[in-house]
Symmetry: C2
Subunit: 495 residues, 2 copies
């Protein structure tokens, strides 16, 4: 910004035809200020950039511009976009904001998880479904129909396609219906979000599925050319067929072991770390206990546990400030427990919840989840920039959860125009009918960036995903070296 | 911003419970940075502010939050809002971005203008209507039905309520239908915008109507407690019943005379100035002629003509840079012709049209019309701030013309959070089913500002409307004194 100040101070606006060179200089200056604007490109990268530019102009000339359309309707358009194909192949670095039980597409959940033996299902009063695996008939669930064993149900059917697709619809927000009608308000979509989450719960917290689900999740991100993951995980008590349950340490250990196994089988995958999360609906004393446990887990699994966060809808939950005593415990004791707070995923301006951004920073958060409201908070924005606290931007999520309709109006467009520290992530891809990172990269590159963003922006975003990760400096360098090799290969294969 | 830098540099984020006083200081700092944040309030103003705050909290707690709803559906909600009633009574200062033929509500146009004798109407091929006043039967219009004399048509009817309401619908974009269905895209709404404009044309360019329309326009703004107007006017050749036409100087002179007449009858009205506008669809040689004429008019009517601007949809018109030679003429000749360019009323990022913001500034514009894209242009934004080039924010217009759906996401929310020079205006109120300034003040105060904006923001916005007006320093002081008297009266009457 110093550079900008200097250039602007030197400018005299002559009372004559504006000097085209001065104009060009200002356009260049602005371009150099955006995400990736300082990046020096190789000849090959410049060549590929010209290709991207051409594709983007064609994309903008089409009748329907996908970032302006609700993702549920835009998904097919995006899938047909040559830019999207290229972004899928592009090594995107790490995904730093993804939740544990929305990594894997619902097809897998239905065709793999629900087809396992001992899978019971019931229907709740409010049109949702619940699952449980059990070696004997499970106890009835309040406000739910009697349990049906899926193997028995399917055995009675000529084919179970309809059943399977109706189960699928219950496990994701994605719908072929008009999304505006299906989800007319934030309240409705968040309510469905929570129901869907509850429906998935019984499937993914069953130990054999839990392991396979995570392995499958890593696979899907890996196939989308993501090489590193920071997973926000509730670390639930995972259960076995006999009803016995494992503790959180077991769950965390399982994440670690499955990651190791996956890395052994995919040497160019860098790894995954866990951000322990708790729902912001709990009270202060529960939060205190959970923070205590987080510190314990952090000590026991320093390589796996990256830190701590609160989840659930900000607007209806308690603000960070309410939990300040619990969240200050680690600092008071001199124990390091990095925070990765969701903050500013709201359009309520000036309310208590809207103070979460500032409070996240005061509590020394390492990154900000969403930060949708950041542009309306100049002090918080400045702190985030000066202290390198990156904003995890999840465009598809913000659109589906109705914070913004046309992604060209996403506030991160402004953040990217001034190279504010940001990373792109996908939040809950399976719930939104997305997968991996490519859809969000597409929305960020084409929607938020417009014609302005280029291959340097993409490269910067990938590099940011390591720079602002929880990895230690040595690991960051290793990851970047690994990524650079794959990036060079990608560039050389596409020019 | 210096203050911010200092405070933030002094901050050390202690590794303990965040200090509530430090937190409070940062919240105060952020609050002091917003529009009106530096304003010192009287006791009475503070009392009224508490009242505003309470009303706003109640407004936000309601089921439907008007700024999140399309204005056509929100209008009734807004009309029932006690905040809106108060804003109507509040002296709002000047309206600096209003177009000539959308000042007066369509009821007046239909019930007054079309009921005058000699008014002919025809229907175009594409379902629009055209008007002409003529002492004899006018020549047929291409692609239009034969002319019907409205007096004759109405005389044949039992009552003409249906006819009148169908005419009304053709003279405004406002509709009781679902606005999303009626106007599914920017292209559709702009097309209807232009048709509506063409429909109004034959009515308002008829000399007797022209005069009365402007007088009525001043009246409606005056009744909405607006005391000053800068009107963007095409200065068309106004016609008489015999088909003869007046030149631009006559039109400008008429604006001046009607304004004088209105001021004589309303001594607390400060006046109106004209910004001569031309459609950006013209070519360079026409633009050159128009700029020449603008300079001439400026010399002849220095008190009335404030400056020059281009109108019409930016996305489909020529960019400012295309016209640079014509627009540089005044500066080259050392003649003062202030510019008030529409710029950045677009969500096309990085295109030629998207350079209009920077080019407007390079061409030394005095203000920026809309500047919707400004937050994505850090260099232009910085120039606008440093040089005090205010952004004319028209929230209702931007929503109806589909730049933004939920006004909480309007980029001027970020501008107002850092006291960027802005004024609030209403663009084409009659076309949008609005009137005066109060609807846009409501959207800015409640939608853009959220709970954060307060009576100081309102006061600042009113003061800005003089500070960034085209008035000379002496006039500004006079206007401010006049306004302050009315403001004090308003405050004392409402506490
Ligand atoms: Zn999240
Ligand atoms: Zn305008």
């Amino acid at each position: 910004m110093l550079q900008l100040g200097l250039v602007l101070c030197c400018l005299t606006f002559a009372a004559s035809i504006p000097d085209p060179r001065q104009r060009e200089a200002l356009i260049q200056l602005e371009s150099s200020m955006q995400t990736g604007g300082q990046m020096v490109l190789t000849d090959a990268e410049q060549e590929l950039d010209a290709h991207f530019f051409k594709m983007k102009q064609e994309e903008m000339a089409r009748a329907a511009f996908p970032p302006a359309v609700h993702f549920f309707r835009a998904r097919d358009l995006i899938r047909r976009s040559p830019i999207f194909s290229l972004l899928q192949e592009m090594p995107k670095g790490g995904a730093l904001h993804v939740h544990d039980f929305s990594m894997v597409d619902v097809d897998w959940l239905v065709m793999n998880a629900t087809y396992r033996p001992h899978c019971y299902m019931c229907c709740t009063d409010n049109q949702s479904i619940r699952f449980i695996f059990s070696s004997r008939r499970p106890k009835p669930l309040p406000r739910c129909s009697p349990w049906t064993l899926l193997e028995e149900l399917r055995a009675k059917m000529v084919n179970s396609t309809d059943l399977d697709s109706s189960i699928k619809q219950n496990l994701t927000l994605f719908t072929e219906q008009d999304p505006e009608e299906a989800y007319p308000s934030q309240d409705v979509v968040w309510d469905r979000f929570e129901q869907t989450f509850a429906a998935v719960w019984g499937l993914v917290t069953y130990a054999p599925v839990f392991r396979d689900y995570f392995y499958q999740g890593l696979t899907q991100f890996y196939l989308d050319n993501v090489m590193y993951l920071e997973l926000r995980a509730l670390l639930p008590e995972v259960y076995e067929l006999d009803g016995s349950a494992h503790d959180r340490a077991w769950t965390l250990k399982t994440y670690r072991d499955v990651t190791e196994q996956f890395k052994n089988q995919h040497p160019d995958f860098f790894g995954a770390r866990i951000i322990f999360t708790v729902n912001r609906g709990v009270n202060l004393s529960v939060m205190t206990e959970v923070v205590e446990e987080a510190m314990k887990l952090q000590r026991s699994f320093p390589d796996t546990l990256a830190g701590f966060d609160l989840v659930g809808r900000e607007d209806s939950g308690r603000p960070l400030w309410y939990f300040r005593e619990a969240l200050s415990l680690p600092a008071e004791r001199g124990i390091e427990l990095p925070f990765f707070f969701h903050a500013g995923e709201t359009d309520l301006e000036g309310t208590d919840v809207d103070q979460n951004l500032l409070d996240a920073l005061l509590l020394n958060t390492s990154r900000i989840g969403h930060g949708f409201a950041l542009v309306r908070h100049p002090v918080a924005k400045d702190l985030s920039r000066k202290r390198g606290v990156a904003v995890e931007v999840c465009p598809v999520s913000n659109q589906v959860l109705k914070l913004v309709k046309d992604l060209r109006n996403h506030p991160a467009a402004a953040l990217m125009s001034e190279n504010h520290p940001v990373v792109i992530s996908s939040d809950d891809p399976a719930l939104f009918g997305a997968s991996g990172l490519s859809y969000d990269f597409y929305e960020a590159f084409v929607g938020l960036g417009g014609i302005k963003s280029n291959i340097a922006s993409l490269k910067q975003l990938a590099i940011n995903s390591f720079r602002y990760s929880s990895l230690n400096p040595k690991q960051k360098i290793e990851a970047l070296v690994l990524w650079q090799r794959r990036w060079n290969k990608f560039v050389s294969e596409h020019v």
